[in-house]
Symmetry: C2
DNA sequence: ACTCCTGATTCAAGCTACTCGAACAAAACA
DNA sequence: TGTTTTGTTCGAGTAGCTTGAATCAGGAGT
């Protein structure tokens, strides 16, 4: 469950360090000067920050360029392994990719957003912006909407209040009322669709993985080109397949 | 190439934050009190640090327990993708695992230590402490020694000076002269062995991946139970196989 | 060769904001 | 119920973070 991360007096130094990491995630590489323009502080300060981070292997220097160090992998893997879901879902995601020949994602919710913890590609699967570790908005994709619809209303409101409903494509739902209607529909049928709401030309189906208390602990989605994912395949075949899988994972999670 | 990360005046706040992350990596989970015992500061300070980190999704709160957030995956994946080696090596590591039925690792050097960037397991492969993202000492395992032996002498000395030669098993090489002899041997034959030097009962062979300037940009290793990896298999068959693979990767890296 | 520039790096001084300890609240315990 | 342990808040003081200027290193232009 995501508790609103409101801190009374956050440590500025830490937040600025994270700002550096975030910038390097987006831009791959940066110099001290470039980073100074981005942050709002003296160049000497930026320099000291980056040197400190580099000394701890969080950043790697290559001449004057800095980039993220793979030490993050270490932390990331530890974090991922904590989600038992990963172990349970991985083999079935692989199977699904094999079977459907499309792209399969497993996502979890964290702080009101979603994180892709595992993905597998089928023979014909498409490449999108998404990758393992990617965080995005719950309302923008099938797996996210599946999780969102499974939250109690109060938490949905809270999530929307916190993150808003930013658009990504013209099809993305950015209106609160419209989203609530969509949520009702998802609750009725038990799974969510995504009609080009995250990527143009991409359709998807997502279904929630629930624990023994019917709380959504994650979701799985199948996505592919709109031309291929439509009609009965999208409406009936894939949802049936998907529901079987998420059900199975849920049961395995409940009875280790 | 690893430049000695010596910082004049490191930012204490950042280093303490990293200390928290490191502790959580080792211990999976911790409370504010527990962390306060570990760090040397007031409980209120620890509290503020952890709240700040949690507010930025680097930590996740579960009641009073904190653990690493999977936001690290995001950074880790970005970092890993920067190593083109990963893309080139992955398919061949998978093949090797299939072919040898043993555990295969691909590692790179960073700051005088090694990082496993990818691993694949064959049908009979053993599980060890190692996992993706794991950092350890170059002199303690086959892939690491293969990289180490390929460095110029000055950098080897520098690396040893910085990190020392800590032992892991009774077989680990902890004596400088002995290590230099080993390095000579590795240079002569072109690949490295590991006879229970990292894990008791485990043997391995490792060979370096070199770029067009004969600089080692990584290494690949095959490891398995000592009972299975011995005699001609360990001495001839696997090295031949391995050299073919690292050679191929090297060529592909040089001519994209 | 010399100059000019751009960017990294160092340093002392000033003052921000990080650290501390105490006090409070809340939960666990006996 | 009282007691202990834990998380949390807050004001005050000073450690140490920030700053801007000065220095150094490398490259480009003349």
């Amino acid at each position: 469950m995501a508790i609103p991360p409101a801190v009374n007096r956050p440590v500025g130094t830490i937040e600025r360090a994270i700002e550096i990491m975030e910038y390097l995630k987006e831009n791959d590489t940066a110099t001290v000067s470039e980073m100074t323009d981005h942050l709002n502080c003296a160049k000497s300060t930026t320099h000291r920050y980056m040197k400190t981070l580099a000394a701890n292997s969080l950043l790697v220097e290559d001449g004057n360029e800095y980039q993220l160090g793979i030490r993050f992998l270490d932390y990331g893997e530890v974090a991922r392994n904590k989600y038992r879901l990963y172990d349970e879902a991985k083999p079935r995601v692989d199977e699904l990719a094999e079977e459907t020949e499309e792209k399969i994602w497993c996502a979890v919710e964290e702080h009101g957003r979603s994180v892709h913890i595992y993905g597998a590609q089928g023979k014909h699967s498409v490449q999108t912006y998404a990758r393992v570790g990617h965080r995005n908005y719950l309302h923008q994709h099938a797996a996210g909407k599946a999780i969102l619809a499974h939250l109690p209303d109060s938490q949905i409101t809270e999530t929307i209040d916190r993150h808003g409903l930013p658009g990504r494509t013209p099809q993305t739902i950015t209106d609160r009322d419209e989203l609530w209607e969509e949520i009702e529909a998802i609750r009725d049928r038990g799974y969510a669709f995504n009609f080009q709401e995250s990527v143009e030309g991409l359709h998807a189906v997502g279904a929630p993985i629930t624990d023994e208390n019917d709380v959504a602990i994650g979701a799985i989605s199948v996505s592919g080109p709109a031309s291929r994912l439509e009609g009965p395949i999208l409406r009936d075949e894939l949802p049936t397949l998907l529901l079987g899988v998420v059900n199975e994972i849920g049961i395995n999670m409940a009875h280790p």
